[in-house]
């Protein structure tokens, strides 16, 4: 049991810190949440800066520990969040790196790293959310192309994406987990229509995507035809396993801000408030330790994160919501004012027990795959 870092890792941390201190003050102002082209440009611009400084591939090629240091330091320094690059960097990219051919890796990975292309995730459908394998979007083969028809929903960043990691049914007669394929689809292909959906936070974070006879080259299939479910499991393990790690650091920062605010507005004298914040501190400290534990395990086993990610996600998604409930107690009526930046964060936190697999689904995974309880 060791929580110390190697000299090389410490050196990486120091170098990164120095670089962040130098470049962050020169960043352009953050675009408003509804300015989608502006957000795309901003997120890609940040990725380009990381690329030029040699940090772009930290999510893929670096060791899990170096990735942890990267996420910790960028978050502590208040660097931009991955934003629109979330899917490309954190799960489509790693999936292509793990499952794609040499050609596919050469085609898709460098533009993600250089901050040139944005990806989105077209998994969920109106009739296939938790029961993802029930998806109906059809793809039949026509020469060396697939012809895709159907619709996707809750597709985050669809408005600004260049590519979509798309799940389609290529064999309707096979059992539902068997007939699925994983495709990379261009979002500007003829037949793709994006209709933004308004979230409860008022923004258009995600969208419905309609696909009408969209042609996708067979060469854009990652993995074998009808073997897409296995590839999907790889994608989901990246999504659940590592994608939320940096956010724990952000939550600890927010908790500190809430404590300061409580002191400033007199709520700190209320022992109930103090105890609540103290408990949350215990919670986020423990979640950070669990992160370090999981990262060490990933480091020793090498490769794709395991189902341990579900354990983390279950607790983290709840804690994040409790964090903003505590904030609301401190802020009082201010918690109803959308002009307070963190009120939007409170609203966004409601998605965490739903997106990337609901808490109920995660509990099923923990019970069946870790504890070995029978399937229902």
């Amino acid at each position: 049991m060791d929580l110390s870092y190697t000299p090389e890792e410490e050196e990486f941390r120091a170098r990164l810190r120095e670089w962040l201190a130098k470049v962050l003050p020169s960043l352009p102002p953050k675009p408003s949440p509804d300015d989608w082209p502006g957000r795309r440009a901003y997120d890609l611009g940040w990725q380009r800066m990381l690329y030029d400084a040699g940090y772009a591939d930290v999510h893929w090629d670096a060791s899990p520990t170096v990735r942890l240091i990267f996420l910790e330091e960028t978050e502590k320094a208040g660097a931009p969040y991955v934003g629109a690059n979330f899917v490309g960097l954190l799960h489509a990219g790693p999936t292509i790196a793990a499952e794609g051919t040499a050609e596919q890796r050469a085609r898709w990975l460098p533009p993600v790293l250089r901050g040139e292309e944005v990806w989105c995730q077209g998994f969920s459908e109106p009739e296939a959310g938790s029961d993802l394998a029930a998806l109906r979007t059809r793809a039949y083969r026509d020469g060396d192309e697939y012809v895709v028809t159907g619709s996707k929903i809750w597709t985050s960043h669809a408005e600004v994406a260049d590519w979509c990691e798309l799940l389609v049914r290529t064999d309707p007669s096979a059992p539902k987990h068997r007939g699925i394929s994983w495709l990379a689809m261009r979002m500007d292909a003829p037949g793709v229509t994006v209709r933004p959906l308004r979230t409860l936070a008022g923004s258009t974070e995600f969208a419905e995507v309609f696909l009408d006879e969209v042609r996708v080259p067979v060469a854009h299939r990652v993995g074998e035809e009808n073997d897409g479910w296995r590839v999907t499991m790889v994608t989901l393990s990246f999504e659940r396993g590592t994608a939320f790690v940096g956010e724990v650091v952000a939550c600890r920062r927010v908790l500190g801000e809430i404590a300061r605010e409580a002191r400033a507005c007199g709520r700190w004298d209320d022992p109930v408030v103090r105890r609540r914040l103290g408990r949350l501190n215990a919670e986020f400290r423990a979640l950070w330790r669990l992160t370090q534990w999981n990262v060490s395990e990933a480091e020793s086993s090498g490769g794709v994160p395991g189902v341990g990610g579900s354990v983390f996600k279950l607790r983290y998604s709840r804690a994040r919501q409790e964090l903003y409930e505590a904030a609301a107690e401190v802020w009082g009526v201010g918690a109803l004012d959308l002009d307070q930046g963190w009120v939007t964060d409170r609203l966004s936190s409601l998605a965490y027990t739903i997106a990337a697999g609901t808490s109920e689904i995660q509990r099923n995974i923990v019970a069946e795959r870790i504890l070995g309880l029978p399937k229902g």
Partner: protein, 294 residues
Amino acid sequence: MRFQLTEDQRALRDGVRGLLARRFGAEALRAAVERPGLDRELWRALGAAGFFSLRLAEAEGGVGLGLPEAVLMFEEAGRALLPGPLAATHLAAGVVPGAADGEAVVTAVGGGGLVEWLDAADVVQGDVTGAVPMRSVDPLTPLWRVPVPDSAVEPDPLFLLLTAAEQLGTAVRMCETAVQHARTREQFGRPIGAFQAVKHLCAELLVRVEVARAAVYAAAVTADPVDVAAARLLADEAAVRGARDCLQVFGGMGFTWEADVHLGLKRAWIRAERGGSNTESEDLLAGELLIEVG
């Protein structure tokens, strides 16, 4: 960073687990409930295995290991529901003669003025003037109360941490027990573990165990009082809530004296009081939020 058990630590844990399974398995636990009293022979066996002298330097006749190893041993003790003032005796090794090798039984006044095993102890640390026996909720932990506890005495972080490690072990046991029962008990023609309501209770049991484990092990590495406070809160939660959920999974059988579930719950309750009230730990953690941000 290698925040995982080393080979040696794994071997140590397995060794202690094996010893406790032989010396204090399910039968012994039941027998102890029928005939309460501190088993001196077992205490000496623990001493011989280095349970109390583990962190004592080799030059002083100890094993020369650290807090992480002690925490692993205490986790196993908690998993076995091993009775006795283990933490107090461990912390007295090298200070109280005979504690290190298990010849002496040492108890201490815990937070809130609670004293365990006062009648069986050879040495008591703290002021027990006027101590009054209680009819202890846990058949395996006799209890006394000191009428006016010395509120100025801060609980020793190591005492809190070793207690948290015991809580973690008990939480592990409760999770294992619940899962085992959910796999075998059948209702409506299938194992109850196939029903989602039961499955989800079990999943949450595991989540609390894993979060507590990360916190307890990290506190063992850093020995930082704030880490210890966090570990303590999460381990208490894992053990107490875990035992209650395990009882729920057991249904009516869980409410009986025969099922060991109540023993886990009662011990977890007592340990949660050992370090004084939770409020102090929560306040410490709250205060740290202000320090950290300046």
